[in-house]
């Protein structure tokens, strides 16, 4: 499988004292779902910000389709942890944001968004204000906004962290459905090992600060996966392999900050 995204010896320091990331190496193949798990403060968000082009690395490089772009801004599709829906725009006009900035005419952009409403469980809600939506629907609207921006790689920062357990499971299953149809490359940041195993082709475990990759695990569970897969011994074994180094990384962390 061709590497879509390649992170080489990436480092990020803030000032002289704080080293957020050190020597991070990871590869994301085309069409893969790759999760990054780590304790709080391990630099997951910093890594994602660098991949999104919002911050510049202090060391190392990021290759996209084998080349190093001048800026990663506008290259990857970034979905921040909070949904960031604009309360003054209807659901539909929030979802077309990426198309609007790409210069797609308003009518065409809205038509394209409308065509996806059903698949994203938003049919009938396109003219609502975001404030009248449930948490799960808001996240689906944010995901539709991210998908419609049309990037090859999606960076999802704990998109389901704020949802209740049942909604979270629905959203995971639904995300796999959407991904299965589009086969978009997804980098998924989470601190939930179960979620990482359920969704991913591969999982990277990061240590506490300074964040670096301490383990890579290939998730060889068959697809399509259903939530029932969670109770299988294979699933439990994978979870355990990830959990042990994660726990020691978390405890060796002097202070668990953001």
């Amino acid at each position: 499988m061709a590497a879509k995204l390649e992170v080489q010896a990436l480092g990020k320091s803030f000032g002289d004292d704080v080293t957020a990331l050190r020597g991070v190496d990871l590869v994301v193949g085309d069409g893969e779902i790759v999760s990054i798990v780590g304790p709080s403060g391990c630099g997951k968000s910093t890594l994602l910000n660098i991949l999104a082009g919002l911050q510049r690395p202090s060391a190392g490089s990021v290759l996209f389709d084998g080349v190093r772009p001048d800026t990663l801004l506008g290259v990857t599709g970034y979905m921040p942890q909070r949904d960031c829906l604009m309360p003054w725009r209807t659901v539909l006009d929030n979802c077309t944001l990426g198309l609007e900035l790409a210069g797609v005419p308003r009518r065409a952009a809205r038509d394209r968004a409308r065509a996806e409403l059903d698949r994203f469980g938003l049919l009938g809600f396109e003219d609502h204000w975001p404030a009248s939506l449930s948490g799960g629907m808001r996240q689906r609207a944010a995901l539709l906004r991210t998908f419609l921006a049309g990037r090859d790689v999606l960076l999802l920062d704990e998109p389901f962290a704020s949802l209740d357990a049942l909604t979270r499971w629905q959203m995971r299953a639904w995300l796999l459905d959407v991904w299965d149809a589009a086969r978009t490359t997804i980098v998924f940041v989470t601190h939930d090992v179960e979620e990482a195993v359920y969704l991913s082709d591969r999982v990277y475990v990061m240590s506490g600060r300074p964040g670096t990759v301490i383990l890579e695990v290939t998730i060889d569970l068959l697809r399509p996966r259903t939530p029932a897969a969670v109770v299988t011994p294979a699933f439990a074994a994978l979870q355990e392999r990830l959990l042990a180094p994660l726990m020691s990384a978390a405890t060796s962390q002097p202070e668990a900050g953001a």
Binding site: L54, R82, W129, S132, A149
Partner: protein
């Protein structure tokens, strides 16, 4: 939905109107049981009579004051929002200008108003300047706060989508600022009426503020009360117009809060 809204409307309007009726009734009662002279406190009925009998005089002067208020209020909004956008766009300008913006509010307008009259004479201009000076400040400060209120994560998201600075301002910062802008404009609406009366006291030959001075000299207390009622009516109408505009322009801010959840 409509039933609940109608009920809310009745409560929202009925409660303050009911309270006003109580106050007027208390006022009438005080007049009935005490012997306060009419020149100190006229009865509500006398004020109503004055309103009717002096309607031509009141209307002619009200028109003058309304024009002053509308022009001054508009100038305050343009000045306030314009200053806020300049200050927001440039940190150096913010450092240099913002403190003086605050200082401008320490200057007693009563003291400055005669200077405006010396500069420009007795026409509309000094009134507009006084009104703008007393009411631009809340617009400017609230707009600056509003422009800062845009979600930084949203601004980052826009950057990743390739938005330019100008696009970020238009798509995220201005809409996010609008509720604050309206808060400032509402305060400015109330202040602009005060400003107009002020300006007319300093130098005017017509207008409701001027009329109050004339009536004061004549000890025509009931007519003064009537003038105050008209001034208050102008203020309420202006405030109501701003409120209506806010509802029309920011439906998401008022309507979206309630609504269905699944």
């Amino acid at each position: 939905m409509t039933g609940a809204r109608a009920r809310a409307l009745v409560v929202n309007i009925g409660a303050p109107v009911g309270f006003a009726v109580l106050v007027v009734a208390g006022w009438a009662l005080v007049k009935a049981v005490t012997d306060i002279p009419d020149t100190s406190l006229p009865a509500p009925g006398q004020v109503a009579d004055a309103l009717w009998e002096q309607r031509d005089l009141l209307w002619d002067n009200a028109w003058v004051t309304i024009v002053e208020i509308l022009v001054g209020f508009a100038a305050a909004i343009v000045l306030g929002i314009g200053l806020a956008m300049v200050i927001h766009a440039n940190r150096a300008v913010e450092r240099a200008v913002y403190p003086w913006l605050v200082v401008s509010q320490m200057v007693p307008v009563v003291a400055v108003a005669p200077i405006f009259v010396i500069w420009t004479g007795f026409d509309l201009r000094p009134k507009v300047m006084v009104i703008a000076l007393v009411s631009f400040f809340p617009v400017a400060v609230n707009t600056i706060d509003g422009l800062k209120a845009a979600d930084p994560e949203l601004l980052n998201l826009l950057r990743t989508l390739g938005a330019t600075r100008r696009q970020r301002v238009r798509i995220a910062q201005l809409p996010a600022a609008l509720p604050s802008v309206f808060s400032g404009v509402k305060i400015a609406a109330a202040l602009s009426v005060i400003g107009a009366v002020f300006a007319e006291w300093v130098g005017a030959s017509e207008g409701l503020g001027h009329l109050i001075l004339v009536l004061n000299n004549q000890v025509a207390t009931a007519e003064m009360f009537a003038t105050i009622v008209v001034l208050a009516g102008i203020g309420i109408a202006l405030y109501g117009a701003v409120l209506l505009l806010e509802r029309l322009l920011l439906p998401w801010y008022h309507g979206g809060r309630q609504g269905l959840r699944d």
